[in-house]
Symmetry: C2
DNA sequence: ATGTATAAGTTTCATTGAAAAACTGGTTGC
DNA sequence: GCAACCAGTTTTTCAATGAAACTTATACAT
């Protein structure tokens, strides 16, 4: 069974660098948040975020290139361009919310008056947590690394 | 009730910029990952990540400054310095795993041989999801913004 | 048809941040 | 005492960021 410590050679094939490749640059996450909030057009992103136009252009192109957003000209007004999230982009929502909840919890006085709720019952959403296969909430010290081919074996001893 | 679209003036008081202030720079998340994997010392971070020493020094100082890690000299060997995660830092684990799972799911061929499992039963952990207060899994289109003072009211109509 | 406004970018250039490599300074072990 | 080690700093070079002006294509009004 794997130790908690991830071997060096496998660090390269971990999903985190892949994710950071796409979302790790400055502004990427803020652009994503705007997109989740219903922002579609270049000028909207520009004015809402206060980002420089060249950087915005660059980031949007990169997000499109990586399949997080799609770019298409508007039919009704062909000056405008419509940027919207792909399923791949939508799948970033848990990561974004987890980050955001952390920022709200520890970031000092950012307790907004606005709270994200489930539209069905109007109650605030739950904190994002880590869960085992059977839905139990688990934490850092419950985790271990295992090779794919020895999956299913119980924890031997260690620690 | 709030629209899905978050008002502009509240963007500033959202937790995401606060989180990115701490974790948004290049290397911050990779340093964090190493810390979760049991890396403690400067030289370890340096060699495992391949990060330049000056940048590493800068990032570690920033993480300490923001309360994500603590820095202390080792008692047994006073050349060494011990960096380890605070509770605030440990609370970044859901965000980091969500990001990592996204990277694994969409990042192409990063399917590592190593899989993160629950140490108790040896089964892979569940994907990180968004949940309502009653633990139902919900998605982007189930979300809405609400002012704190009108919490509890059910969704009126809209959409 | 002409003129003006808008949208979505590019270009240019000054400033800032990152990377690589050499250097410093306190510990330790021999 | 001396060589090796650890955790940084300094220095220099190169890439990224940011602000502002410029460009192109479309729309709208006269």
């Amino acid at each position: 069974m794997g130790k908690l410590r991830e071997p060096l050679k496998d660090l390269a094939t971990c999903g985190l660098p892949a994710a950071l490749e796409v979302m790790g640059e400055r502004w990427s996450f803020l652009i994503l948040r705007a997109a989740f909030n219903g922002v579609y057009h270049f000028e909207e992103f520009s004015s809402q975020l206060g980002i420089a136009r060249n950087i915005l252009s660059n980031r949007l192109a990169k997000l499109v290139e990586h399949g997080v957003m799609v770019r298409q000209r508007c039919e009704d007004d062909r000056r405008k361009v419509h940027y919207c999230l792909t399923p791949k982009g939508e799948n970033l929502l848990p990561a974004m919310l987890a980050l955001r909840q952390w920022g709200e919890k520890f970031g000092g006085n950012v307790s907004s008056e606005l709270i994200l709720v489930d539209a069905r019952d109007g109650k605030p959403i739950a904190p994002i947590t880590i869960r085992a296969a059977d839905d139990r909430e688990i934490g850092w010290h419950d985790l271990a690394w295992m090779h794919r081919d020895e999956l299913g074996k119980k924890k031997p001893d260690c620690c």
